[in-house]
Every structure is written in C-alpha cells, then in structure tokens.
Symmetry: C2
Subunit: 273 residues, 2 copies
DNA sequence: AGGGTGACCCAACATAAGTTATGGCAAACT
DNA sequence: AGTTTGCCATAACTTATGTTGGGTCACCCT
C-alpha cells in the first residue's frame, strides 16, 4: 500500500468528475438539502481534483490535515490497523465527505483507503472555516454528514450483532445498493463495485471462505449474485428481508430528516416514513 | 420500559449533580479543553436537571427535540429496536452529551435509555444556537463530542470483528474503566455499574450464557471479575492485552488531539502518543 | 413464612463459523 | 506458450458460540 499521490487536473478547466446526468460537478448526498447557491459555493471551494488508482492509503491515521476531501467517483474505505490485521470500519460512496472529521479533530483516528479507481476533490480548511462562519445552514450540513456516518456505524453494530452471516451480507449489499441509488448510481438490477470478497468478508467480520459460502446461499436463494466487480440483485425484496433492511438510518428523503437546529421551525418537522 | 418522566429539581437552587471532588456541576469529558469561562457558560445553559431511575426510554427514536441532554451521573444506553429485539449500539458515561445529534438532526435514529440511577441536565437548543454562533471554540467542542461517539462506534466495529468473545468483553470492560477514570470516577481497583450480564451480552453481541462463560474465563484468568453492579480489575495489564485495548480512539490527553480547525494554528499540533 | 422474580451459573448438546487444504479460472506477465 | 498471481469455490475438519434445560441465590411482595 504505497502512498503516491499524483497531481491531476490542476490548472485544468473544466475539472474532472462532472456528473453525466445532472451536469453537476458534485453528485452530493446532501444536494437535495442545499440551495443552488450553496451547491455553487461548495463546488467553488474545491481547489483540486485527483484521479486515484488501486489500493492505497490516501489519508493516514494521525496525519495533520489542512484540507478535507470529497469523494466524487468511486469507493473509499475507512480502516483501522491494529498490529497485523486491518479492519474496515466504514465505506464511502460518491457524494460523501470522507474526512470532514479532520476539520473538527486535529487528527483522524483511522485511515482512508482508496480501492479501484476513484476521483476526489479537495477543500481547504481555511475556506471551509469561512463558510462555516458565514453560512450556518451549510455548517449544519457538514455536521450532519459526520452524524450520518455515525448512524451508519450504529446500524453496522446492530446488524453485526443481530444477524447471522448471510443476513449480514444481505444487509451490506442492500445498504450499498441504496446509497448508490441515492446519488443516482446503479439501477434496479444491481451495481458495479471494486469490492472483492476479501473486502466484503472483512466488513462483515467473517472469513473469506464463509463469505463465499454466504454469497452462495444468497445466489442459490435467488436474492443476489456476486461476480467480480458486479452485484446483481436477483430479488430486491428477498434481499431486504434477509438483511432486515430499513433505510431510515440513512436519513433519506421522507425518512428521519436533517434538522434545522440553527434556524428552528417546528412546523417543518415531518412524520416518520 | 414505560416512559414516565418525573420532574425533579426544577426551581430548586442549587441544582443536583454537583461533583463531590471538583465542586463543579459538570464533570465533563471536555472540561480539559474548555476555559473556566466556557465551563461557567455551559453550566449556566442548563435550565433543568432530573434524577431518573430504572430502565426506561428517555428519548425515543423519532422524537422531535428542542433541547439537548447531558449525562451528569449514571449510565445511559443508545439502543436500536428492530422488531422484537433491542440492540445496544452505544454507552454513555457521566460528562457525555447524549444527544447533541438532536441539535443537527431533526430526529434521532435511535433511543436513549436510562439504566440504574442517573442524573441528567437539559439545555435548550435556542440557547445552544446562540452559543454556537458566538463561540466557535465551544461549537467545535460540541461537534467533537459527536465525533468522539463515532470514533467509539468504529472501535466497537473493529473489536467485534477482530476479537473472540472473551477478548470483546475484556475490551469493553477496559473501555468503560478508562472512560470513567477520564472523568474522575472509579479507581485502579475497579468501578461500579448498573450494567447486568444481559446488557454486557447485548453490547458484545453474544448470548447471556456465553457472556457468563467469558466472564468466568476472565475471572479464572485473573484479569477481571464481575459481581452484581461491580467490576473488579484483578490485573489491568492482562485485561488490556486480552482486549488489545489502545485508548487513542478516546482522544484523551496526550493522544489524538481535538482539532482547532476554527482557529487553525499548525504549530499547536502535537505528536501522537 | 411462602411464593415469585430477576440475575447468575453450569452441563450437554446443536449449530454456525473458522481453518486447512486443494483446485479452477481469468488476467497479467515473460 | 507457459508461468505466475489474485480471486473465487469447495470439502473436511476443528473450534466457537448458541440453545435447551436445568439449577442457586438474593431480593421483594403478600
């Protein structure tokens, strides 16, 4: 896992990562909660983008950061190393801020790892700081993005304790599927991913052999199919049932809503989906 | 789990929960990062305290909150219900803000449950909002407190995947021990807790029978002992080794430090412990 | 005093998951 | 063309953990 950052796209115009459907540079998870002006502002803060390849650490535990990173295309992992083994403790998909933490913490407690091909954008903390002070609504959204990560962590903890192997895998696949679809990626048939069975096994806390067994169960049960870089959803309802998946924890539209604490208006509150 | 909140201490002066050692009302986890003025300000925001008893839900998933809660004495659990079973996904000790999330989110994605006897203080969101705008340093600390919860979630995920039953229990006990000592509770011999083996089993994702087995292993191995409401540390080093415990993720003094992103000064950065 | 209850302990057994070992297959390399 | 490598599949075996079904004990209630 070498750490070699190649500069890319600097000085170029337009920069990479523009979304094919929306024409927007950011296909942000938070877009529906932002005004167009805020979207423009946020995009303007990105001073550099990079296309990264392969499996390597982008930001290492303990690094001091004066910038934050947004994942524009591809996947990234949060990992914690402890002695020999490396545990995946989080997964990021396009549109996620991957290290907004680094803005409120001096240092990160975990690594951020690139897998497959990814495109990332960087925002300087000094610029973020200014926006945070001037735009309380955006500030709250940034905070929200870190709370969303925590909510996902909690769900992983719950599902890991509640379900057996095949159920855990079903839940994970469903989560990724949902999260991708929330930012306009994948479709009802499935999605592409650079995740290998080794990654999936690590995330689900089981051996690769058992992951293979569990994927076979899902395949033979007619729920989902895994093939090198491609997840095919055979029966979405079946998969959701196996993983007892309830998307409320992802705070999508219609579910638990983003708060408005910095500008409270109780009349805005929505019922639970 | 009935939800019956009895009003307590309203209108009284002084309010309950004053720390016996420091004389401070808050034995906050974040105290060492606050000025005396900030501590005073924070204390002044608490408009009500309550002493709560038994096992019941204090704040329920989906509740709309216009206040946030600080745990002054006792323990609280974060739980997620899914059908019949209830999973504990977090544990709070005195000095923790338990629902700073509710400030940035409209609604919480999980329940907050009181166990044993607990004393809590409430802060109005309108007051918090004012402080957030005027005092960027305190704002950062509040954000930090939610990031700390997330860091603990990640460690739980990692340890749950990395360790077998006895190791997971050892890690959990060590974590609680450390967190209590960080706010001046417990001592080198052990600590008191209302947690039962049922709670511990739930947190560690195993059956109560297996928790009983694991605790027996720890006892016979001379690491730690569990007795109704009391954890006795027989050999701290042994316990730490069994759980591969590394306190860095708790962001204590000397470890990964709280950032200063709202007022960056790179010269302040400290080496990792 | 008697009965109930909740927390805890233990043994025997069933099942889930880890480990070891082997092999297939496709892509990359020489 | 042959070799290597990474990813995936499977079987046989071992180990960890869950389940069932018993207990003890302290506490509370009547």
């Amino acid at each position: 896992m070498g750490v070699t950052l190649q500069k890319a796209n600097t000085g170029q115009n337009p920069i990479a990562g523009q979304h094919p459907k929306t024409g927007r540079f950011l296909m942000s998870r938070l877009r529906h909660a932002m005004t167009v002006g805020e979207q423009d502002l946020l995009e303007s803060l990105i001073y550099k983008t990079q296309t990264l390849q392969g499996e390597h650490i982008l930001i290492e535990r303990g690094d001091f950061c004066d910038f934050s990173t947004m994942l524009i295309e591809g996947y990234m992992l949060r990992t914690i190393r402890d002695g020999d083994d490396e545990q995946i403790v989080g997964l990021q998909v396009p549109g996620d801020f991957v290290d907004m933490h680094a803005f409120a913490l001096k240092r990160l407690d975990h690594d951020l790892v690139v897998i497959g091909e990814a495109n990332v954008g960087y925002v300087r903390h000094e610029d973020l700081k200014r926006v945070l002070q001037d735009q309380p609504h955006l500030a709250r959204l940034f905070w929200f993005s870190t709370l969303l990560d925590a909510s996902i962590h909690r769900e992983w903890i719950m599902k890991s304790n509640q379900l057996r192997a095949a159920g855990r895998v079903a839940h994970l696949l469903t989560e990724i599927w949902y999260r991708l679809r929330m930012v306009g990626l994948g479709n009802s048939k499935g999605f592409d991913t650079p995740l290998t069975q080794i990654h999936l096994a690590n995330i689900c806390g089981m051996s690769t052999i058992h992951m293979s067994r569990s994927l076979r169960d899902l395949r033979e049960g007619g729920a989902a199919e895994f093939n090198r870089g491609r997840i095919t959803i055979l029966d979405g309802d079946k998969l959701i049932a196996l993983g007892k998946f309830d998307p409320a924890y992802l705070y999508g539209e219609g579910g638990l809503e983003v708060g408005d604490a910095l500008n409270i208006d109780a009349s805005e509150s929505l019922p639970l989906s």
